[in-house]
Protein backbone atom coordinates (compact mmCIF):
# COMPACT_ATOMS: atom_id res chain seq x y z
CA UNK A 1 0.00 0.00 0.00
CA UNK A 2 0.96 3.60 -0.41
CA UNK A 3 2.13 5.08 2.87
CA UNK A 4 1.85 8.50 1.27
CA UNK A 5 5.01 10.15 2.47
CA UNK A 6 5.02 12.91 -0.10
CA UNK A 7 7.86 15.18 0.87
CA UNK A 8 10.55 16.32 3.20
CA UNK A 9 9.86 18.30 6.31
CA UNK A 10 10.45 21.98 5.61
CA UNK A 11 13.38 23.12 7.71
CA UNK A 12 11.68 26.18 9.05
CA UNK A 13 8.10 25.00 9.36
CA UNK A 14 8.10 24.72 13.16
CA UNK A 15 9.98 27.95 13.60
CA UNK A 16 7.58 29.77 11.31
CA UNK A 17 4.40 28.40 12.86
CA UNK A 18 5.62 28.65 16.43
CA UNK A 19 5.32 32.45 16.65
CA UNK A 20 1.80 32.38 15.23
CA UNK A 21 0.67 29.60 17.56
CA UNK A 22 2.09 31.33 20.64
CA UNK A 23 0.35 34.56 19.55
CA UNK A 24 -3.04 32.86 19.25
CA UNK A 25 -2.60 30.94 22.50
CA UNK A 26 -1.53 33.96 24.59
CA UNK A 27 -4.61 35.72 23.25
CA UNK A 28 -6.67 33.08 25.08
CA UNK A 29 -4.49 32.15 28.02
CA UNK A 30 -3.14 35.63 28.76
CA UNK A 31 0.52 36.63 28.68
CA UNK A 32 0.96 35.58 32.35
CA UNK A 33 0.44 32.02 31.05
CA UNK A 34 3.09 32.34 28.33
CA UNK A 35 4.78 29.17 29.59
CA UNK A 36 1.51 27.27 29.23
CA UNK A 37 1.15 28.57 25.66
CA UNK A 38 4.67 27.38 24.89
CA UNK A 39 3.93 23.95 26.38
CA UNK A 40 0.87 23.63 24.17
CA UNK A 41 2.96 24.54 21.11
CA UNK A 42 5.58 21.99 22.11
CA UNK A 43 2.88 19.34 22.54
CA UNK A 44 1.50 20.12 19.10
CA UNK A 45 4.99 19.71 17.60
CA UNK A 46 5.51 16.38 19.37
CA UNK A 47 2.10 15.19 18.21
CA UNK A 48 2.85 16.30 14.65
CA UNK A 49 6.17 14.51 14.46
CA UNK A 50 4.74 11.31 15.91
CA UNK A 51 1.84 11.23 13.51
CA UNK A 52 3.71 12.45 10.44
CA UNK A 53 6.64 10.11 10.73
CA UNK A 54 4.25 7.18 10.48
CA UNK A 55 1.44 8.54 8.32
CA UNK A 56 3.42 11.01 6.18
CA UNK A 57 3.48 14.80 6.12
CA UNK A 58 0.05 16.33 5.40
CA UNK A 59 -0.58 18.62 2.42
CA UNK A 60 -0.90 21.68 4.62
CA UNK A 61 1.34 21.06 7.62
CA UNK A 62 0.87 24.61 8.93
CA UNK A 63 -2.91 24.20 9.13
CA UNK A 64 -2.45 20.76 10.72
CA UNK A 65 -0.30 22.29 13.47
CA UNK A 66 -2.79 25.12 14.08
CA UNK A 67 -5.62 22.61 14.48
CA UNK A 68 -3.56 20.45 16.83
CA UNK A 69 -2.75 23.52 18.95
CA UNK A 70 -6.38 24.59 18.96
CA UNK A 71 -7.58 21.16 20.12
CA UNK A 72 -4.96 21.01 22.79
CA UNK A 73 -5.92 24.52 23.94
CA UNK A 74 -9.55 23.43 24.29
CA UNK A 75 -8.44 20.45 26.44
CA UNK A 76 -6.37 22.71 28.67
CA UNK A 77 -9.16 25.29 29.02
CA UNK A 78 -11.75 22.66 29.95
CA UNK A 79 -9.45 21.04 32.45
CA UNK A 80 -8.05 24.16 34.07
CA UNK A 81 -10.66 26.87 33.74
CA UNK A 82 -11.56 26.67 37.41
CA UNK A 83 -7.97 26.46 38.63
CA UNK A 84 -6.37 29.19 36.52
CA UNK A 85 -7.21 32.69 35.42
CA UNK A 86 -6.82 33.15 31.70
CA UNK A 87 -6.70 36.32 29.57
CA UNK A 88 -8.73 39.13 31.12
CA UNK A 89 -9.76 40.13 27.56
CA UNK A 90 -11.61 36.83 27.25
CA UNK A 91 -14.00 37.83 30.04
CA UNK A 92 -16.42 35.00 30.68
CA UNK A 93 -16.25 33.58 27.16
CA UNK A 94 -14.21 30.61 28.34
CA UNK A 95 -16.70 29.67 31.09
CA UNK A 96 -19.30 27.85 29.03
CA UNK A 97 -19.22 25.49 26.08
CA UNK A 98 -21.50 27.87 24.18
CA UNK A 99 -18.80 30.46 23.81
CA UNK A 100 -15.62 28.46 24.38
CA UNK A 101 -15.14 27.06 20.87
CA UNK A 102 -16.06 30.28 19.03
CA UNK A 103 -13.67 32.24 21.26
CA UNK A 104 -10.83 29.83 20.56
CA UNK A 105 -11.59 29.81 16.84
CA UNK A 106 -11.54 33.59 16.81
CA UNK A 107 -8.11 33.60 18.46
CA UNK A 108 -6.76 31.38 15.67
CA UNK A 109 -8.18 33.62 12.93
CA UNK A 110 -5.41 34.98 10.66
CA UNK A 111 -6.19 38.61 11.46
CA UNK A 112 -6.22 38.00 15.19
CA UNK A 113 -2.93 36.17 14.90
CA UNK A 114 -1.39 39.07 13.01
CA UNK A 115 -2.52 41.61 15.61
CA UNK A 116 -1.41 39.43 18.50
CA UNK A 117 2.03 38.98 16.93
CA UNK A 118 2.30 42.78 16.70
CA UNK A 119 1.23 43.20 20.33
CA UNK A 120 3.79 40.57 21.32
CA UNK A 121 6.50 42.36 19.30
CA UNK A 122 5.70 45.67 21.02
CA UNK A 123 5.60 43.91 24.41
CA UNK A 124 9.01 42.32 23.84
CA UNK A 125 10.39 45.83 23.33
CA UNK A 126 9.47 46.94 26.84
CA UNK A 127 11.65 49.99 27.65
CA UNK A 128 12.82 48.43 30.92
CA UNK A 129 14.47 45.57 29.00
CA UNK A 130 18.00 45.85 27.61
CA UNK A 131 18.20 45.77 23.81
CA UNK A 132 19.91 42.38 23.81
CA UNK A 133 17.03 41.01 25.90
CA UNK A 134 14.48 42.50 23.51
CA UNK A 135 16.17 40.91 20.51
CA UNK A 136 16.52 37.52 22.22
CA UNK A 137 12.84 37.61 23.23
CA UNK A 138 11.70 38.48 19.71
CA UNK A 139 13.77 35.66 18.23
CA UNK A 140 12.54 33.18 20.81
CA UNK A 141 8.83 34.02 20.99
CA UNK A 142 8.04 35.44 17.55
CA UNK A 143 10.58 33.62 15.42
CA UNK A 144 10.65 30.25 17.19
CA UNK A 145 14.44 30.20 17.70
CA UNK A 146 15.56 28.04 20.62
CA UNK A 147 18.05 29.42 23.14
CA UNK A 148 20.68 27.18 21.54
CA UNK A 149 19.97 28.56 18.08
CA UNK A 150 20.12 32.16 19.32
CA UNK A 151 23.40 31.45 21.13
CA UNK A 152 24.85 29.95 17.94
CA UNK A 153 23.74 32.90 15.83
CA UNK A 154 25.16 35.51 18.23
CA UNK A 155 28.22 33.46 19.20
CA UNK A 156 27.29 33.85 22.82
CA UNK A 157 26.90 31.30 25.59
CA UNK A 158 23.69 29.33 25.79
CA UNK A 159 23.37 29.96 29.52
CA UNK A 160 23.63 33.73 28.97
CA UNK A 161 20.93 33.61 26.30
CA UNK A 162 18.66 31.49 28.51
CA UNK A 163 19.08 34.03 31.27
CA UNK A 164 18.16 36.88 28.95
CA UNK A 165 15.07 35.08 27.75
CA UNK A 166 13.85 34.16 31.21
CA UNK A 167 14.46 37.70 32.49
CA UNK A 168 12.43 39.04 29.57
CA UNK A 169 9.62 36.55 30.05
CA UNK A 170 9.32 37.50 33.70
CA UNK A 171 8.79 41.12 32.68
CA UNK A 172 6.24 40.06 30.08
CA UNK A 173 4.33 37.88 32.54
CA UNK A 174 4.33 40.61 35.17
CA UNK A 175 2.79 43.06 32.73
CA UNK A 176 -0.45 40.99 32.86
CA UNK A 177 -1.52 41.98 29.38
CA UNK A 178 0.19 42.55 26.06
CA UNK A 179 0.89 46.05 24.79
CA UNK A 180 -2.28 47.68 23.54
CA UNK A 181 -1.93 48.86 19.94
CA UNK A 182 -4.13 51.89 20.62
CA UNK A 183 -1.94 52.91 23.56
CA UNK A 184 -0.90 56.56 23.76
CA UNK A 185 2.74 55.43 23.80
CA UNK A 186 2.37 53.66 20.47
CA UNK A 187 4.76 55.85 18.47
CA UNK A 188 7.53 55.92 21.04
CA UNK A 189 7.29 52.13 21.45
CA UNK A 190 7.32 51.80 17.65
CA UNK A 191 10.71 53.53 17.65
CA UNK A 192 12.00 50.93 20.13
CA UNK A 193 10.64 48.14 17.94
CA UNK A 194 12.45 49.66 14.94
CA UNK A 195 15.69 49.72 16.90
CA UNK A 196 15.35 46.06 17.96
CA UNK A 197 14.56 44.91 14.41
CA UNK A 198 17.48 46.97 13.10
CA UNK A 199 19.80 45.22 15.58
CA UNK A 200 18.36 41.83 14.66
CA UNK A 201 18.97 42.54 10.99
CA UNK A 202 22.49 43.82 11.59
CA UNK A 203 23.38 40.70 13.51
CA UNK A 204 22.55 38.82 10.32
CA UNK A 205 24.24 41.26 7.97
CA UNK A 206 27.35 42.31 9.90
CA UNK A 207 27.22 39.70 12.61
CA UNK A 208 29.62 37.23 14.00
CA UNK A 209 28.22 33.91 12.81
CA UNK A 210 30.29 32.52 9.96
CA UNK A 211 27.44 30.50 8.53
CA UNK A 212 25.72 32.21 5.63
CA UNK A 213 22.53 30.20 6.28
CA UNK A 214 22.31 31.47 9.87
CA UNK A 215 22.89 35.04 8.78
CA UNK A 216 20.32 34.79 6.01
CA UNK A 217 17.78 33.42 8.54
CA UNK A 218 18.26 36.41 10.85
CA UNK A 219 17.95 38.88 7.97
CA UNK A 220 14.84 37.09 6.68
CA UNK A 221 13.20 37.15 10.12
CA UNK A 222 13.92 40.87 10.54
CA UNK A 223 12.38 41.49 7.11
CA UNK A 224 9.34 39.34 7.90
CA UNK A 225 8.69 41.28 11.11
CA UNK A 226 9.19 44.73 9.60
CA UNK A 227 6.78 43.76 6.81
CA UNK A 228 4.31 42.62 9.48
CA UNK A 229 4.54 46.13 10.98
CA UNK A 230 3.66 47.62 7.60
CA UNK A 231 0.43 45.59 7.48
CA UNK A 232 -0.87 47.57 10.43
CA UNK A 233 -1.72 51.06 9.15
CA UNK A 234 -0.64 53.11 12.20
CA UNK A 235 2.75 51.34 12.08
CA UNK A 236 3.12 51.87 8.32
CA UNK A 237 5.15 55.05 8.84
CA UNK A 238 7.91 56.57 6.68
CA UNK A 239 10.47 55.29 9.23
CA UNK A 240 9.07 51.74 9.01
CA UNK A 241 9.29 51.87 5.21
CA UNK A 242 12.81 53.27 5.31
CA UNK A 243 13.88 50.50 7.68
CA UNK A 244 12.22 47.89 5.45
CA UNK A 245 13.95 49.44 2.41
CA UNK A 246 17.40 49.36 3.94
CA UNK A 247 16.92 45.74 5.03
CA UNK A 248 15.90 44.69 1.51
CA UNK A 249 18.72 46.61 -0.17
CA UNK A 250 21.34 45.15 2.18
CA UNK A 251 19.90 41.64 2.11
CA UNK A 252 20.11 41.70 -1.69
CA UNK A 253 23.92 41.77 -1.32
CA UNK A 254 24.27 39.31 1.56
CA UNK A 255 25.13 36.22 -0.47
CA UNK A 256 27.97 38.02 -2.24
CA UNK A 257 29.17 39.75 0.92
CA UNK A 258 29.63 36.46 2.73
CA UNK A 259 30.18 33.46 0.50
CA UNK A 260 29.07 29.91 1.22
CA UNK A 261 32.37 29.16 2.96
CA UNK A 262 31.77 32.06 5.33
CA UNK A 263 34.42 34.26 3.71
CA UNK A 264 33.88 38.01 3.66
CA UNK A 265 34.17 39.79 0.33
CA UNK A 266 34.98 43.46 -0.18
CA UNK A 267 32.35 45.55 -1.96
CA UNK A 268 34.66 45.98 -4.94
CA UNK A 269 35.20 42.22 -5.22
CA UNK A 270 31.51 41.31 -5.13
CA UNK A 271 29.89 39.88 -8.24
CA UNK A 272 27.13 42.43 -8.75
CA UNK A 273 25.30 40.21 -11.19
CA UNK A 274 24.55 37.94 -8.24
CA UNK A 275 22.85 40.64 -6.21
CA UNK A 276 19.21 39.66 -5.69
CA UNK A 277 17.28 41.79 -8.20
CA UNK A 278 13.92 40.91 -6.65
CA UNK A 279 14.99 42.22 -3.24
CA UNK A 280 16.51 45.31 -4.86
CA UNK A 281 13.28 46.04 -6.71
CA UNK A 282 11.23 45.69 -3.52
CA UNK A 283 13.76 47.70 -1.55
CA UNK A 284 13.64 50.59 -4.02
CA UNK A 285 9.83 50.55 -4.03
CA UNK A 286 9.82 50.66 -0.21
CA UNK A 287 12.36 53.47 -0.34
CA UNK A 288 10.00 55.47 -2.57
CA UNK A 289 7.19 54.90 -0.11
CA UNK A 290 9.38 56.05 2.78
CA UNK A 291 9.64 59.48 1.16
CA UNK A 292 5.91 60.17 1.46
CA UNK A 293 6.05 62.13 4.70
CA UNK A 294 8.32 64.90 5.89
CA UNK A 295 10.02 62.64 8.39
CA UNK A 296 13.73 62.04 7.78
CA UNK A 297 15.33 59.36 9.94
CA UNK A 298 18.73 57.71 10.04
CA UNK A 299 17.02 54.72 8.37
CA UNK A 300 16.16 56.96 5.40
CA UNK A 301 19.77 58.03 4.99
CA UNK A 302 21.13 54.50 5.39
CA UNK A 303 18.59 53.24 2.87
CA UNK A 304 19.57 56.05 0.50
CA UNK A 305 23.23 55.06 0.77
CA UNK A 306 22.36 51.40 0.13
CA UNK A 307 20.25 52.51 -2.85
CA UNK A 308 23.24 54.36 -4.34
CA UNK A 309 25.28 51.17 -4.11
CA UNK A 310 22.72 48.90 -5.76
CA UNK A 311 22.09 51.43 -8.53
CA UNK A 312 25.77 51.57 -9.49
CA UNK A 313 27.05 49.15 -12.13
CA UNK A 314 30.49 48.99 -10.52
CA UNK A 315 32.55 50.39 -7.66
CA UNK A 316 34.00 53.10 -9.96
CA UNK A 317 30.65 54.10 -11.35
CA UNK A 318 29.22 54.63 -7.85
CA UNK A 319 28.14 58.16 -7.10
CA UNK A 320 30.57 58.75 -4.23
CA UNK A 321 29.63 62.41 -4.37
CA UNK A 322 26.07 61.57 -3.27
CA UNK A 323 27.25 59.00 -0.75
CA UNK A 324 29.56 61.45 1.00
CA UNK A 325 26.72 63.98 1.10
CA UNK A 326 24.39 61.36 2.62
CA UNK A 327 26.97 60.48 5.26
CA UNK A 328 27.27 64.19 6.09
CA UNK A 329 23.52 64.37 6.70
CA UNK A 330 23.63 61.14 8.73
CA UNK A 331 26.37 62.63 10.91
CA UNK A 332 24.31 65.74 11.48
CA UNK A 333 21.41 63.53 12.61
CA UNK A 334 23.25 60.86 14.58
CA UNK A 335 26.95 61.59 15.08
CA UNK A 336 29.04 58.44 15.51
CA UNK A 337 32.70 57.62 14.89
CA UNK A 338 31.75 54.53 12.84
CA UNK A 339 29.67 56.69 10.50
CA UNK A 340 32.62 59.10 10.25
CA UNK A 341 34.83 56.17 9.35
CA UNK A 342 32.46 55.12 6.57
CA UNK A 343 32.31 58.70 5.36
CA UNK A 344 36.11 58.87 5.21
CA UNK A 345 36.21 55.66 3.16
CA UNK A 346 33.68 57.21 0.75
CA UNK A 347 35.83 60.38 0.57
CA UNK A 348 38.77 58.14 -0.34
CA UNK A 349 36.73 56.70 -3.20
CA UNK A 350 35.65 60.14 -4.36
CA UNK A 351 38.89 62.14 -4.04
CA UNK A 352 41.59 59.49 -3.82
CA UNK A 353 43.45 57.67 -1.08
CA UNK A 354 45.35 60.73 0.26
CA UNK A 355 42.08 62.62 0.81
CA UNK A 356 40.60 59.52 2.44
CA UNK A 357 43.51 59.32 4.90
CA UNK A 358 43.19 63.01 5.66
CA UNK A 359 39.49 62.51 6.37
CA UNK A 360 40.31 59.56 8.65
CA UNK A 361 42.87 61.61 10.54
CA UNK A 362 40.41 64.43 11.08
CA UNK A 363 37.89 62.23 12.88
CA UNK A 364 37.78 63.97 16.23
CA UNK A 365 37.11 61.09 18.57
CA UNK A 366 38.99 58.50 16.53
CA UNK A 367 40.38 57.17 19.81
CA UNK A 368 37.00 55.46 20.16
CA UNK A 369 37.68 53.56 16.94
CA UNK A 370 40.99 52.22 18.19
CA UNK A 371 39.57 48.84 19.22
CA UNK A 372 37.58 48.47 15.99
CA UNK A 373 39.48 46.25 13.51
CA UNK A 374 37.96 47.82 10.41
CA UNK A 375 39.29 51.26 11.38
CA UNK A 376 42.83 49.93 11.09
CA UNK A 377 41.90 47.96 8.00
CA UNK A 378 40.57 51.15 6.38
CA UNK A 379 43.89 52.93 7.04
CA UNK A 380 45.71 49.89 5.66
CA UNK A 381 43.62 49.87 2.47
CA UNK A 382 44.33 53.57 1.85
CA UNK A 383 48.05 53.09 2.53
CA UNK A 384 48.07 50.12 0.18
CA UNK A 385 46.37 52.13 -2.53
CA UNK A 386 49.22 54.63 -2.32
CA UNK A 387 51.76 51.85 -2.75
CA UNK A 388 52.99 51.87 0.86
CA UNK A 389 52.95 48.11 1.39
CA UNK A 390 54.93 48.10 4.65
CA UNK A 391 52.70 50.61 6.37
CA UNK A 392 49.60 48.79 5.07
CA UNK A 393 50.92 45.49 6.42
CA UNK A 394 51.51 47.01 9.86
CA UNK A 395 47.97 48.39 10.01
CA UNK A 396 46.50 45.08 8.85
CA UNK A 397 48.50 43.36 11.59
CA UNK A 398 46.87 45.63 14.17
CA UNK A 399 43.46 44.89 12.66
CA UNK A 400 44.12 41.12 12.82
CA UNK A 401 45.02 41.39 16.50
CA UNK A 402 41.68 43.09 17.10
CA UNK A 403 39.61 40.73 14.93
CA UNK A 404 36.61 39.35 16.77
CA UNK A 405 36.14 36.03 15.00
CA UNK A 406 37.70 33.62 12.51
CA UNK A 407 35.84 35.11 9.58
CA UNK A 408 37.24 38.60 10.16
CA UNK A 409 40.68 37.16 10.81
CA UNK A 410 40.77 35.18 7.57
CA UNK A 411 39.48 38.16 5.61
CA UNK A 412 42.22 40.42 7.01
CA UNK A 413 44.90 37.80 6.47
CA UNK A 414 43.95 37.58 2.82
CA UNK A 415 44.34 41.34 2.62
CA UNK A 416 47.90 41.05 3.98
CA UNK A 417 48.65 38.85 0.99
CA UNK A 418 47.65 41.81 -1.20
CA UNK A 419 50.40 43.89 0.49
CA UNK A 420 52.95 41.27 -0.51
CA UNK A 421 51.75 41.55 -4.11
CA UNK A 422 52.48 45.29 -4.05
CA UNK A 423 56.03 44.63 -2.89
CA UNK A 424 56.73 42.04 -5.56
Amino acid sequence: MNVGIPRELDDHLFRRESGKMVAALTRIFGVHNLDLAEDVVQDAFVRALEVWRMRGIPDNPGAWLMTAAKNRALDVLRRERTARTFAPEMGRLLDTEWTLSPAVNEAFDVHTIRDEQLRMMFSCCHPSLAEEVQVALILNILCGFSAGEIAAAFLSGRAAVEKRISRGKKTLAASKRLFDLVDADFLSRLATVHRALYLLFNEGYHGSSAELAVRADLCAEAIRLVMLLREYTPADTPATNALAALMHLHAARLATRVDADGELNRLGDQDRSRWDSRLIERGLALFDRSATGNELTAFHLEAAIAAEHVRAASLDETSWESIVALYDRLLALEPSPVVELNRAIAVGQRDGAAAGLAALNSIEDRARLDAYPFYHAAIAELELEQGRGDSARAHFATAIKLSRNQMERRFLERRVAACDAVQA
Binding site: L9, F45, V46, L49, M54, S146, G148
Partner: protein, 115 residues
Protein backbone atom coordinates in the same frame (compact mmCIF):
# COMPACT_ATOMS: atom_id res chain seq x y z
CA UNK B 1 4.74 -13.56 3.53
CA UNK B 2 3.65 -13.30 7.15
CA UNK B 3 2.45 -10.38 9.17
CA UNK B 4 4.27 -8.89 12.11
CA UNK B 5 3.61 -5.96 14.36
CA UNK B 6 6.27 -3.53 15.47
CA UNK B 7 5.57 -1.98 18.84
CA UNK B 8 7.66 1.13 19.36
CA UNK B 9 8.64 1.67 22.96
CA UNK B 10 10.62 4.35 24.70
CA UNK B 11 10.69 6.51 27.82
CA UNK B 12 8.89 9.84 27.88
CA UNK B 13 12.18 11.68 28.44
CA UNK B 14 13.71 10.09 25.36
CA UNK B 15 10.60 10.82 23.36
CA UNK B 16 10.82 14.51 24.28
CA UNK B 17 14.54 14.64 23.59
CA UNK B 18 13.93 13.42 20.04
CA UNK B 19 11.49 16.31 19.57
CA UNK B 20 13.80 19.09 20.75
CA UNK B 21 14.52 21.92 18.33
CA UNK B 22 18.03 20.61 17.81
CA UNK B 23 17.18 17.02 16.89
CA UNK B 24 13.61 16.94 15.60
CA UNK B 25 14.55 17.67 12.02
CA UNK B 26 17.07 14.84 11.99
CA UNK B 27 14.77 12.46 13.80
CA UNK B 28 11.92 13.18 11.39
CA UNK B 29 14.17 12.71 8.37
CA UNK B 30 15.42 9.38 9.72
CA UNK B 31 11.87 8.14 10.22
CA UNK B 32 10.70 9.23 6.80
CA UNK B 33 13.64 7.48 5.18
CA UNK B 34 13.08 4.34 7.18
CA UNK B 35 9.34 4.18 6.42
CA UNK B 36 9.99 4.93 2.74
CA UNK B 37 12.56 2.15 2.61
CA UNK B 38 10.13 -0.38 4.07
CA UNK B 39 7.40 0.80 1.75
CA UNK B 40 9.57 0.62 -1.36
CA UNK B 41 10.34 -3.02 -0.61
CA UNK B 42 6.71 -3.89 -0.02
CA UNK B 43 7.02 -4.53 3.69
CA UNK B 44 4.37 -2.12 4.92
CA UNK B 45 0.98 -3.69 5.42
CA UNK B 46 -0.28 -0.73 7.42
CA UNK B 47 1.83 2.25 8.50
CA UNK B 48 -0.03 2.13 11.80
CA UNK B 49 -0.59 4.93 14.24
CA UNK B 50 1.11 6.70 17.08
CA UNK B 51 -0.67 6.35 20.42
CA UNK B 52 -1.45 9.13 22.88
CA UNK B 53 0.45 8.96 26.15
CA UNK B 54 -2.57 9.46 28.36
CA UNK B 55 -5.24 6.85 28.88
CA UNK B 56 -6.91 4.47 31.27
CA UNK B 57 -6.51 0.85 32.22
CA UNK B 58 -9.50 -1.32 33.07
CA UNK B 59 -8.45 -4.29 35.19
CA UNK B 60 -9.90 -7.50 36.61
CA UNK B 61 -13.35 -8.69 37.53
CA UNK B 62 -13.86 -5.60 39.64
CA UNK B 63 -13.21 -3.59 36.46
CA UNK B 64 -10.94 -1.24 38.35
CA UNK B 65 -10.07 1.78 36.26
CA UNK B 66 -6.62 3.33 36.70
CA UNK B 67 -5.73 6.65 35.15
CA UNK B 68 -2.86 7.38 32.87
CA UNK B 69 -0.66 9.11 32.04
CA UNK B 70 1.95 6.45 32.03
CA UNK B 71 4.81 8.91 31.80
CA UNK B 72 6.85 7.26 34.52
CA UNK B 73 6.96 4.04 32.59
CA UNK B 74 10.33 3.43 30.96
CA UNK B 75 8.93 1.67 27.91
CA UNK B 76 5.83 3.50 26.92
CA UNK B 77 4.25 2.10 23.74
CA UNK B 78 4.40 5.01 21.33
CA UNK B 79 2.79 3.38 18.33
CA UNK B 80 2.68 0.41 16.02
CA UNK B 81 3.20 -0.56 12.38
CA UNK B 82 2.00 -3.69 10.62
CA UNK B 83 4.77 -5.29 8.59
CA UNK B 84 4.92 -8.03 5.97
CA UNK B 85 8.06 -10.16 6.06
CA UNK B 86 9.21 -13.64 5.03
CA UNK B 87 9.73 -14.76 8.60
CA UNK B 88 10.52 -13.42 12.05
CA UNK B 89 14.23 -13.27 11.26
CA UNK B 90 13.60 -10.93 8.36
CA UNK B 91 11.17 -8.86 10.42
CA UNK B 92 13.82 -8.49 13.12
CA UNK B 93 16.47 -7.61 10.59
CA UNK B 94 14.25 -4.91 9.10
CA UNK B 95 13.63 -3.50 12.59
CA UNK B 96 17.38 -2.90 12.95
CA UNK B 97 17.03 0.28 10.91
CA UNK B 98 14.36 1.81 13.14
CA UNK B 99 15.36 5.34 14.29
CA UNK B 100 13.79 4.50 17.68
CA UNK B 101 16.96 2.53 18.39
CA UNK B 102 19.11 5.66 18.18
CA UNK B 103 17.95 6.61 21.69
CA UNK B 104 16.90 4.39 24.54
CA UNK B 105 13.91 3.06 22.63
CA UNK B 106 13.16 -0.46 21.51
CA UNK B 107 11.11 -2.17 18.85
CA UNK B 108 9.14 -5.22 19.93
CA UNK B 109 8.59 -7.54 16.97
CA UNK B 110 5.54 -9.78 17.36
CA UNK B 111 4.07 -12.12 14.78
CA UNK B 112 0.38 -11.75 14.08
CA UNK B 113 -0.77 -15.24 15.05
CA UNK B 114 -1.82 -17.17 11.93
CA UNK B 115 -5.17 -18.99 11.78
Amino acid sequence: MSEFIYLYRTSDADRRAAMSAESRQQSMQAWLEWMRGLEANGHIKNPGNPLGTEGRVVRGKAKTVTDGPFVEIKDLVLGYTVIEAKDIDQAVELANGCPMLAGEGSVEVRPVAPM
